[in-house]
């Protein structure tokens, strides 16, 4: 294939670049090395993290596994208060994870495990608090607030509408609107009666 040979000879740089990495310019080579290094380090980190998270609590029964994850997800770590015990690295969280693990293996129910925690640390350990007199505000409060907001809005709207319609025409509500309406209605018959716009000049001159 003569034409292609000729093309390769004409552009030797292109041909060489295709052949091997060593022929790349130095900065590009460095970038490639760094990228490869990053990928491998990242993969290693990810692997080791995944391993350390799994290694502690492994259940033969997948059902237990799900319950373990759900429970530790819903229990608050009391040391680092905005984390659950599944995410927290605190010593206490580790202890509590072990307790949940042990109690699950002992065949305790979710409710028993939660009660165990609440008996020791109070209702506060539950991210999903139980419905009882003390927590009623938490459950009902948001709905009450929304209801109050909607109610207030409705009341406001109706009051305004009532005030507007109370005086007959909407304009009656505001003295300034009454004046504007009066002014407009006094002009209204003049405007369409004048096809040539002469009246408008007249208006301007007044």
């Amino acid at each position: 294939m003569r034409p292609s040979d000729g093309a390769a000879a004409a552009t030797p740089g292109l041909h060489r670049r295709d052949r091997s990495e060593e022929k790349w310019p130095l900065p590009a080579r460095l970038v490639r090395r760094a990228a490869a290094l990053l990928v491998w380090t990242g993969a290693l980190l990810f692997l080791s993290a995944a391993e350390s998270a799994v290694e502690l609590h492994k259940f033969d029964d997948p059902g237990l596994d799900v319950r373990f994850r759900t429970l530790t997800y819903e229990l608050r770590c009391l040391v680092c208060q905005n984390q659950n015990i599944a995410d927290s690295n605190a010593d206490l969280a580790k202890d509590l994870r072990n307790v949940v693990d042990r109690m699950l293996r002992d065949g305790k129910s979710d409710e028993e495990i939660k009660t165990f925690m609440v008996d020791r640390y109070g209702e506060f350990v539950l991210y999903r608090p139980r419905l009882r007199p003390g927590t009623l505000v938490l459950w009902v409060g948001p709905f009450l607030l929304v209801a109050a907001g909607v109610g207030g809005l409705l009341w406001h709207v109706r009051r305004r509408r009532g005030a507007l319609s109370g005086g007959g025409t909407p304009e009656a509500a505001d003295p300034e609107l009454v004046r504007i309406a009066a002014l407009l209605s006094s002009r209204a018959p003049e405007m369409p009666s004048d096809p040539n716009g002469q009246d408008r000049n007249e208006l301007g001159s007044r």
Binding site: V99, D119, Y121, E123, A163, L164, A173, D174
Partner: protein, 189 residues
Amino acid sequence: MNAPTVSVPGARWLKYVLPLAVFAAIGATLLYGLDHDPREIPSPLVGKPAPEFSLPRLHHPEARLGTQDLLGKVSLLNVWASWCVACRAEHPVLLRIARELAVPIYGLNYKDERADAVQWLGSLGDPYAASAYDHEGKVGLDLGVYGVPETFLIGPSGKIVYKQIGPIDPAVWQKKILPKIRAIERRAG
């Protein structure tokens, strides 16, 4: 803006009172938040009997310290560890309480190494009538301990009267713990 207020009597003063009430409510909430530490979670155990325990003693592993030893007197159960920095700050206060008052302080050495704990008490002084050695933190768990130091005031019947989360400083001692001890003593006659 004139017309709506005219149509509903009372709306005029409501316009001034309502924002004021909302402001007062927010202000009161913030004021309450000022001297309430969100990290101090009220213990559900206060007012209930202390959970049963029996642990080897720190200095004498063959002897035991348990709930039975706390009965019949007002006592303090102080949860501490040699790795706990705040305990070091609290320590002089405990030493003074032990020296000046007839209230025995029992220690619960929490998730510590025995040698470290013994050495800690050896160099800083030992305010405890006795210390229990809770290496795994099991009793700490039953007591709902989530930070060290924590101190339980326990009545003669073994009931938890008060829980102090964080170190006891002279102010806490004077204002919170001492009055409760006096109250128990008065009731006992």
